[in-house]
Amino acid sequence: MTQDDQARTTDAPPADAPSTGAHMPPLERSVVGSVGVALMGAGLRSARPLQKLVLGTVGAGLAAMAATGRNPIATALKIRQSQDGEVLVGDAVTVGRPAAELYAIWRQLENLPQLMTHLQRVEVLDEKRSRWTVKAPTGEVSWDAEITADEPGRRIAWQSLPGAAVENHGEVLFRPAPGNRGTEVVVRLAYRPPAGTAGAIVARLTGEEPAQQLRSDLMRFKREQETGHAPTTEGQTSGRAAKGGEA
């Protein structure tokens, strides 16, 4: 990726200036503090050096944040927020296929659960409207959304309809990559997390947060489009299998 491309893909979603590091209310402080201490404990107990380092550092950071009432972790974890409290998520991947082809796959909204693993299903209601269902810790959450822009081969944008459990809007851009490298697929999402910033942090740490899911989903999409399969080592042989443990 050239520097030029990089500058473009790190653009914030339109019309929402990111701001982070907001002061936390007391409840949020105590929640974040407990998670921090628990993570530090898990880090210290871990036998794996990398895990120890990561959990310990993140845990210590959360605890410090709770103690000071400031939220540098949101910044450190690159959780971006718009001024009115929406969490902004964006990522991009270059896929070695033509834009028209990739656009067509995304435009079949029913396909989306295959591209984005946290989506349970998308039902198309009419020309513009669709019902989205996601897995959540509490069960399933559904909302209705409408397509707000549809430019074949270039862009799809949507917005949740009033009353959605998780208010969100976003867009997917398809633009030709320079030098015959295929298509740059750029996804930008904005959503209002149910428990504020702390909710977004906890979701991030447990791997349930949209930024992480988006990255994994985009990479899997690229791999399936380019090679026909996502690579895997699941089910391969190892010394663990021999002892009846995980394969």
Binding site: R215, H229, P231, G235, Q236, T237, A242
Partner: protein, 392 residues
Amino acid sequence: MKAIVWQGTNKIGVETVPDPTLLLPTDAIVKITSTAICGSDLHLLDGFIPSMEKGDILGHEFMGEVVEVGREVKKLKVGDRVVVPFNIACGVCDPCRRGLFSACDNSNPNHRMTEAMYGGVSGGGLFGYSHMYGGYAGGQAQYVRVPFADVNPHKIETDLSDEQVLFLTDIFPTGYQAAEQCGIIPGRDVVAVFGAGPVGQFAARSAQLLGAAHVIVIDRVPERLAMAEAAGCQTINYEQDDVLVALREATGGRGPDHVIDAVGMEAHGHGPGALVDTAKQRLRLTFDRITALRWALLSCAKGGTVSMPGVYGGLIDKVPMGAAFAKGLTFKMGQTHTHRYVLPLLARIEARQIDPSFVITHRASLDQAPDLYKTFRDKQGGCIKVVLNPWA
């Protein structure tokens, strides 16, 4: 089948594990006829590469015979004799199409782990080299699963022995790429190689093949230096001589035009820098000890190239960047794009320009491998390169 298994830091054992199976229709299963222990396996033994898990099968230098292919495999068939590069490439992504096979976008299932450490970028998968690099089972075993089977294995259709072609999987291309990326001007350039282990030996001989006027090899182990001398290289024992002075003397004060750091992150050496590195590495504050890299930057001639086939893992400080800047050095580094070199180097072997088996000092069965890991690490018994026969 029998396999060499990582059981924890400094614990490597032979275990009986299930035979590998095809996981994707583009996979093949290879029955391994020869496999080797690589210097970079020692970083796994020592526990300096993060994300190893107990039960992981080691090994990334291996060759053998195809015994099973998935239904989407087109170019390879049962019975083919193959060498298998240590890095796994998909063959179709942008880096692969540019020949940057070790930087494959698509072959590492655990991309997130490396992205978290390396700024959103993950390299391709490697056989038997930690979960950061994909967690693929390695080839110090009787059988191995090879992904992207139309891309990774290279057929060997001559009657050259295993020992003559086995090192096309890693150390020969690794040494060759290190020398090639220096841009040696034949008959003019002097090349210094830090580290006379297997990669250093191949880097030195590759520099000669590419026309270097003079090659100097630096190490401290007498039999390694003797092997380099046998190839016509000048040698410096850094325990007996001041390296920087000796290199100036050998090059009329200019310094070597290109320096190859074939040591990487577990450099020995002395002085305060080396002591600090060692202490920090023990405390896990750093993954890397960088004496060789420091010497490389300090000794290299103006406008020269510092080429780094040695493996580095993490953050490095106390790098003499001022010296590098003042001299206008070029840095070249990275995992080997092995696939690029298999056929051209095979041609050189067939033309008898080089016989890579010169580097082998130990031949053994898989059962002896755990002991040989330690023999190799401690450089006992003149050990430079170990080749294992999984069926002995």
